[in-house]
Amino acid sequence: MSSKGLMRSQLLAATVAFGLLSSVAHAQQQPCIGNSAAVTGPAAFSGQAIKMGAQIAIDEINEAGGVLGQKLRLVQYDDAGAPPRGVDNTRRIALADKCIAVLGGFHSTVAVAQVEPVHEIGIPYMGVWAANTKAVENGRDPNFMFRVSAKDKWVARFLVDEALKVSKDGKIAFFYENTGWGNGALPDIKAAMAARGKELVAAETFNWNDQDMSPQVIRARDAGAEVVMIWSLDREGNQVLRAMDKIGYKPAVIGAWGISGNLGELAGPLANGVRVMQTYSFLTPQSETGKKMLATLAAKYGLNDPSAIKAASGIADAYDAVYILADAIKIAGAFDWAKVQKALYEVNRDGLVAPYKPAFDKSDPERNDALLPENYLLAVWHDGKLIPFKGSPYDK
């Protein structure tokens, strides 16, 4: 058998044995945006929220004629919160689907893991949820990681400022979930405290699904904390509140946006007065874009009651992220990763969540984040609903 024939026969064998393989890759007919997010598992809501926000934006863009004459498409892959699957999805989106950008997901550990493949391949990444500081401030140049979402470093400053308004002496305890997000925020909080010349009196951690937090709460009480800052999801936030209730400990509670989902429903009256940072709320007076968005959510997804939209920030951030990407493609004039990365720094747009003027700033390494601290909202739980803090019964 000639060498050529041998090779052909091997290829034949490979095609027979791995017929499955080749069907993974299908050629792209239209430009797409790929999203790796948790569609299954405990944070399944996040993947669905991102899909809603992104899909609404894409549909609007396509109705208006698409981008560079082509219609955009959304591909979503599940990472179930596992970094390796996020990494695989990133490669699949970039190399097999040949999408123009990767839309990020919920988990900070996944976002941090994506930094490496994103830069190895050179595809723009647009975070819409995971707030880990280092995912975007990763020291790379050029930096392909962008974000339209909160950044823990800034959130930490924002919340520490709020906390210090309550406790002038800085008696603050920090409660954080034992995940990449929670652990990643710890240094940010410490730095924010140090910047104000203060130190945490207690730092307590817990796992997802922990049933009882009394040891942590007792330690915080014994340390004399007047404010408890919480970096957790609703479920564990509720456990912290209940543990406090049980031992009769009533500090002021301020949380990152993890407890902005259904804490009011879970904790009932205990949640009243708990302050939460958010990037977006559908319960404030809405802009024109916001009203249109609400109408679409009601028409397409049956979400008629704005207070029933649990992951407002996720939906809104994804919506804006897609528009910013579309603008960048138009500025770049091509579906080209490197060109789009450069063009992202030139995007100026009035978005749903914030005015992006400009969206990103190449001269400032901290400005691969589009949402600035002044865009953050302080909300507060009141009778099962999350309402803007300003003007609430707790705003004294």
């Binding site: 405990p42 009882d212 049980k246 879970l266 649990k310």
Partner: protein, 291 residues
């Protein structure tokens, strides 16, 4: 002092859940020499179903009752579908994997339904806290370990004084002999799985007001309940219940005096050490190998 009391009572509450779950494992193991690895999901079915029923307007008692029955039905069906076909095999891989598979499916359904969010189950037991020896607790938490002990005593009464209970003991002792005595062994096993699942779902209903109902609420209690059952000696009902309660308390003390993070490491290491010293568990019967 009040801190120590807090740890003890909080530990007993969570330990009560481990004890109830472990009791379920004991019941299944005694009958079938096999267990349901999706037993944690039975707990979740109980808790989540009750939460949904209450949310849609049912009364709490009725909702909880129905949820517990649903859990029992789940166990009954699962035994027939996933355990019995593999019960005769020499190794345990068959029923381990099938029940794990069913668990994955059930958990996935629950995640789709809840989108991963937790749901509240309002109960008068968590409306306000009470003080016991300086420890703050919900009445619900005080009730859980008591129910675990009552369930154990109830099981004993059932085994002593009812026909099905005696049949369960006979099957546990010797399946072939029981069959020769005219006992429908399959029926007894199915009943045992249903009973175990009733206790599992009851544990879910009991804990849901405290921890909230969610798709993943059963994962850790399921795993730890099994570890507790093995550690306590899966053949002994009082053994697993006692071990469960103790394990909960130990966990709280580790959390309180070492660190929250060390809890799982200390707990599972303890289990391995116990098994090395007492291969049949702390209170389990030693089986003499016959050549």
């Amino acid at each position: 002092m009040s801190t120590v009391a807090q740890y003890i009572f909080s530990g007993l509450a969570i330990g009560g859940i481990y004890a109830l779950v472990a009791l379920g494992f004991h019941i299944m193991w005694s009958a079938a020499r096999a267990v349901n690895f999706a037993h944690g999901d039975t707990l979740m079915i109980g808790g989540l179903m009750a939460a949904y029923l209450v949310a849609s307007g049912w009364s709490l008692v009725l909702a909880c009752g129905l949820a517990i029955l649903a859990g029992g039905a789940f166990g009954f069906v699962l035994e027939r579908l996933a355990v019995r076909p593999f019960a005769g095999q020499a190794n345990s891989i068959g029923w381990m994997l099938t029940t794990i598979a069913v668990g994955i499916m059930v958990e996935s359904l629950a995640t789709i339904e809840t989108q991963g969010y937790a749901l509240p189950l309002p109960s008068p037991g968590v409306a306000g806290s009470v003080q016991v020896f300086g420890a703050g607790l919900y009445p619900q938490e005080l009730v859980i370990p008591v129910i675990a002990v009552i369930a154990m005593a109830g099981l004993r009464l059932l085994q002593r004084h009812t026909l099905i209970g005696r049949a369960m003991q006979a099957v546990a002792h010797n399946k072939n002999a029981a069959a020769l005595m005219g006992i429908d062994v399959n029926l007894v096993i199915a009943f045992s799985f249903a009973l175990a699942s009733l206790t599992g779902a009851a544990a879910g209903v009991l804990i849901a007001p405290v921890v909230q109902a969610s798709a993943t609420m059963g994962v850790l209690p399921g795993l730890k309940g099994f570890a507790v059952a093995i550690m306590g000696g899966i053949t002994s009902a009082p053994g697993v219940v006692l071990t469960g309660l103790a394990y909960g308390v130990i966990e709280k003390f580790v959390e309180g005096y070492i660190s929250t993070a060390a809890r799982e490491i200390v707990g599972f290491s303890l289990m391995i050490v116990v098994l090395l010293v007492f291969p049949q568990g702390l209170f389990g019967k030693r089986e003499v190998a016959k050549v």
